[in-house]
């Protein structure tokens, strides 16, 4: 058969998907200590593949395509890599390498056994997550994407309960059931689309889909299902206990990587499959959920007593941030969602979040390992004991805030420009406020970590230098994403960070963050509040505390199963309704 198999470098896409899976299978076969070796050997290879794909994509200047078996869609399956996919492939490969470096110490097979459960499972599941994510990024077929999503869930759930405690098992079970609910809704949508248009291939569907009952229902169901898997507020039923209770190396995978899979799929659906079905109002709803997630997630994060839970709740907030791009990418004149500055910003946000959040969880894990606890109030002296770790935490925090030239800074800038350009000033407030909230919990942790300790700090365990270095590397990497401005992004975005306007903005965000931290943290941040400022500040603090408690209660309420599952269906119904009526600008 003389076959055309797509673009020249397309075979790299198949290799990128297969490599982690083959590594996993070889790991099962070889067992014992070889599992870790195989996994670690796959990582540089996978990174090289991702770099190769990036180079090929830049050189060819178009979407890479590979037809599997030479069968063209709609009968066959095509792998495709556009800019979005290439960026995510590269980011995930880098984060996986960082996590691999970090986890070498935590998940080494103990010397006295041939094979240990935790090490065997961790490395193989990490490979599985990686392969599934690569598949999510490059697959061009909605059903293959369903299988990829399920792969991601089956690999993610056991990572949650790798430690085996009752609380994490419960979290894992909630995650599993809720995610299954979400994926059935996704599959239902895909089935409807097949019934309506006779194909599951993304470009073919994009050409055929008309805004009608079938497309709207499918989009509403699929979006709601994917949001459940992404854990966007109020569907974050499983996230905090799962991410807070898992081992740090697993939390990093879950928080930085696993949720990106379903988020990416929402992006694909809205931008590439049904951009013409999406309406202004539905995009507003999506971002509105994101804004709520930022507020509730951040406030609850500030009220946590344990560092890992703080980071877990900050993930809830950051997921919200990832959805702010949708109304900004909406082209009101054409009534379609378009690729442009806003979608680039959103993508950059996701990449920065993946790197920085992984670094943050790693740092939190190192603190826990060193101290034997991670109570925020008792962190005094840790900055002196683990300077590299604390530096990694702070840099990751800065990267998430988007204040100095970091990846998130560029992302925020792109989104702010898009908000200005489309006259949606309310998203400007949310974007800046979100940064201030992020600043708040960095200040909170730093305030505690920098305090001097009267007695010598008791370290229960020496932490691995390599692990500290890995966390720092990812955090620095997130900052260095600003260099993207030199390459594919327009250069005018990088203004001088020391220019008065930029500096003032940075300062504003930091001060806002400090005030939020002061007001909302559970324990008073300063050991002895100044009596002079007590009276007016006291009333403010009361109000802030009331807000904090209200957010906590709201969080607890929506994380009840019945509420969350009803919320899921209600959201699907709302999206359906807004897709129907929301065509006014």
């Amino acid at each position: 058969m003389a076959l055309s198999t797509g673009t020249h470098a397309g075979a790299l896409l198949a290799a990128a998907v297969l490599l982690p899976f083959v590594g996993m299978l070889l790991g099962v076969l070889l067992g014992g200590r070889q599992v870790q070796r195989v996994a670690l050997a796959c990582m540089p290879l996978g990174l090289a593949l991702a770099l190769g794909i990036t180079v090929a994509w830049l050189r060819e200047g178009q979407t890479l395509v590979y037809l599997l078996g030479g069968w063209a869609p709609p009968l066959g399956i095509a792998l495709r890599a556009d800019g979005l996919a290439v960026a995510m492939l590269l980011a995930v490969a880098a984060v996986v390498c960082g996590i691999g470096m970090y986890a070498r110490a935590d998940f080494a097979t103990p010397p006295d056994v041939r094979e240990s459960r935790a090490a065997f499972s961790y490395w193989l599941l990490l490979m599985a997550v990686w392969g599934a994510l690569n598949l999510v990024f490059v697959s061009g077929d909605l059903f293959t994407l369903y299988v990829a999503l399920e792969l991601l869930t089956f690999a993610g759930v056991p990572l949650v309960c790798l430690a085996g405690s009752g609380e994490t098992l419960r979290a894992a079970l909630r995650y599993m059931l809720f995610a299954l609910c979400g994926s059935v809704l996704y599959l239902l949508g895909a089935v409807l689309l097949y019934g309506g248009y006779g194909t599951l291939d993304i470009p073919l569907l994009a050409g055929a889909v008309q805004p009608g009952a079938i497309a709207r229902t499918a989009l509403a169901l699929m979006t709601a299902g994917l949001l459940a898997k992404t854990a966007l507020f109020p569907l974050h039923i499983w996230l905090p206990p799962a991410h807070g209770g898992a081992p740090a190396a697993a939390s990093a995978v879950l928080s930085a990587l696993v949720i990106k899979g379903s988020w990416f799929l929402v992006l694909r659906l809205w931008l590439d499959v049904m951009p013409g079905v999406v309406t202004w109002a539905s995009a507003q709803l999506l971002a509105g959920l994101g804004a709520t997630a930022i507020v509730v997630g951040s406030v609850v994060a500030l009220r946590q007593e344990r560092l890992k839970l703080l980071v877990a709740y900050s993930t809830v907030a950051q997921i919200g941030y990832l959805f702010l791009m949708f109304p900004l990418a909406f082209d009101a004149t054409g009534n379609v969602l378009v690729h442009g500055a806003a979608s680039t910003g959103g993508l950059l946000q996701a990449v920065s979040h993946a790197t920085a959040k992984a670094a943050m969880f790693m740092a939190a894990g190192l603190v826990y390992a060193a101290l034997g606890h991670d109570r925020i109030a008792d962190l005094a002296g840790i900055a002196r004991a683990l300077p590299v770790t604390v530096l990694a935490f702070v840099l990751a925090g800065i990267a998430l805030m988007g204040v100095v030239p970091s990846g998130a800074y560029l992302a925020k800038k792109l989104l702010l420009d898009a908000a200005d350009g489309s006259g949606q000033w309310w998203w400007t407030i949310v974007l800046q406020g979100g940064a201030a909230f992020t600043a708040a919990y960095v200040v909170l942790v730093l305030g505690s970590a920098l305090r001097r300790r009267s007695a010598a700090l008791m370290q229960v365990k020496r932490v691995s230098r390599l692990a500290e270095f890995a966390a720092l590397l990812l955090a620095v990497g997130s900052l260095a994403l600003a260099l993207a401005a030199l390459g594919p992004l327009p250069g005018h975005l990088v203004s001088n960070p020391l220019a008065p306007k930029e500096l003032a903005m940075t300062l504003l965000v930091l001060v806002g963050g400090a005030l939020l931290a002061l007001g909302l943290s559970r324990a008073p941040l300063l050991a002895a509040p100044r009596p002079a400022a007590a009276a007016p500040a006291g009333r403010l603090r009361q109000a802030a505390l009331a807000l904090g408690i209200a957010c906590e209660q709201a969080d607890r309420l929506v994380r009840r199963w019945s509420f969350a599952s009803i919320g899921l269906l209600t959201l699907a119904a709302l999206f359906g309704a807004l897709l129907l009526v929301g065509r006014a600008t």
């Binding site: 059903f143 079970l173 059931l177 609910c181």
Partner: protein
């Protein structure tokens, strides 16, 4: 009404029934059964669409039918993983509650 429309409508109802069970049944195992019913509803819908697509001498469109076989196997794998987590949860905590706060006595 022909067979495929009949079963397609039946499938819609199955999805609804499964959803209801997923929401209101408190025990995880019951939720899992409900999930399977909902899933089978989606499958029947797909099967009815395949029957609608009968052409070229085939009694049904073979592509959805092949996808269905894959989907049934994936659903089985999901059930197996969920049952394993549930049994482990029961083993280690003697409860199967999905509530936020573990019931007292733990």
């Amino acid at each position: 009404m022909n067979v495929e429309t009949l079963f397609a409508l039946c499938a819609c109802a199955l999805v609804g029934i499964g959803l209801y069970g997923l929401i209101v049944q408190p025990h995880p195992l019951r939720k899992l059964v409900a999930f399977n019913i909902m899933g089978s509803g989606v499958f029947v819908l797909f099967g009815a669409l395949a029957k609608r697509g009968a052409a070229a001498g085939m009694a049904a469109d073979p592509v959805p039918q092949a996808l269905l076989i894959t989907a049934i196997v994936v659903a089985f794998a999901a059930t197996a993983v969920t049952v394993a987590v549930l049994l482990r949860l029961i083993e280690s905590t003697a409860t199967a509650s999905l509530a936020n706060e573990p019931p007292s006595g733990e």
